[in-house]
Symmetry: C2
Subunit: 102 residues, 2 copies
DNA sequence: TTTTCAATATCGCCCTTCGATATTAATACT
DNA sequence: AGTATTAATATCGAAGGGCGATATTGAAAA
């Protein structure tokens, strides 16, 4: 399957998407899963949640538990360090795009 | 170190760079190492060579041994499948860039 | 033959990804 | 009250990959 090949290429993209959305407004896991799916990234919960945890322990995201309609959700927001990383990613994504666009 | 964090984000970018350059003209390992370094990607030979091997066994690159000034180099060119993957990557890189640019 | 050098390959450790399954906590139903 | 249901999150073991350090290759120079 070339799915495996594509995933290898796009896992970093997924991390960047997460940072981007977490900057716009706090996100939670299953919403992010749906958002990524709409962008054409197929990824399961067993992959996403460990990624969120590692991004938190890497200091890119902070977690806050909220009670929404009786359900507890873990909302993740971007940290200052996360924003710095995102800026780096924006630069690199632009360079990559410029270089391969034609 | 946040180097580890950045590497996680950019490994896919590196794969795409490799595909792009292998399409322009055949590449070999140590040249690619230098090229990536100039683009700001720090990566060692112990990482790059296994990547080239896996991209070959995934059918994205083909290898051809050439004798250059008495030295044997392994030149990698892009395959048809590699070109298809690269097109996918271009689309996704453009979407990513569009989404996070501001 | 020995040294030197550029280029490539391999080693073992550790971490991550993955699909599948389990857990949690609150509501709806009978 | 007890059970089923549901959304959201967490965890499991297997498999694979990244990493730095080290080893190997092959040819030319000394």
């Amino acid at each position: 399957m070339e799915d495996k090949v594509l995933r290898k290429l796009f896992l970093g993209f997924i991390h960047i998407h997460i940072l981007h959305h977490a900057k716009e407004s706090p996100i939670f896991g299953s919403w992010m899963l749906e958002e990524l799916r709409e962008h054409g990234y197929s990824i399961g919960p067993g992959t996403l949640y460990p990624i969120l945890h590692s991004m938190e322990s890497d200091g890119l995201l902070t977690r806050e538990d909220r009670n929404v309609e009786g359900k507890i959700r873990k909302y993740y927001s971007i940290t200052e360090k996360g924003e710095q990383i995102l800026v780096e990613a924006q630069k690199k994504a632009y360079e990559l795009f410029k270089e391969i666009k034609d």
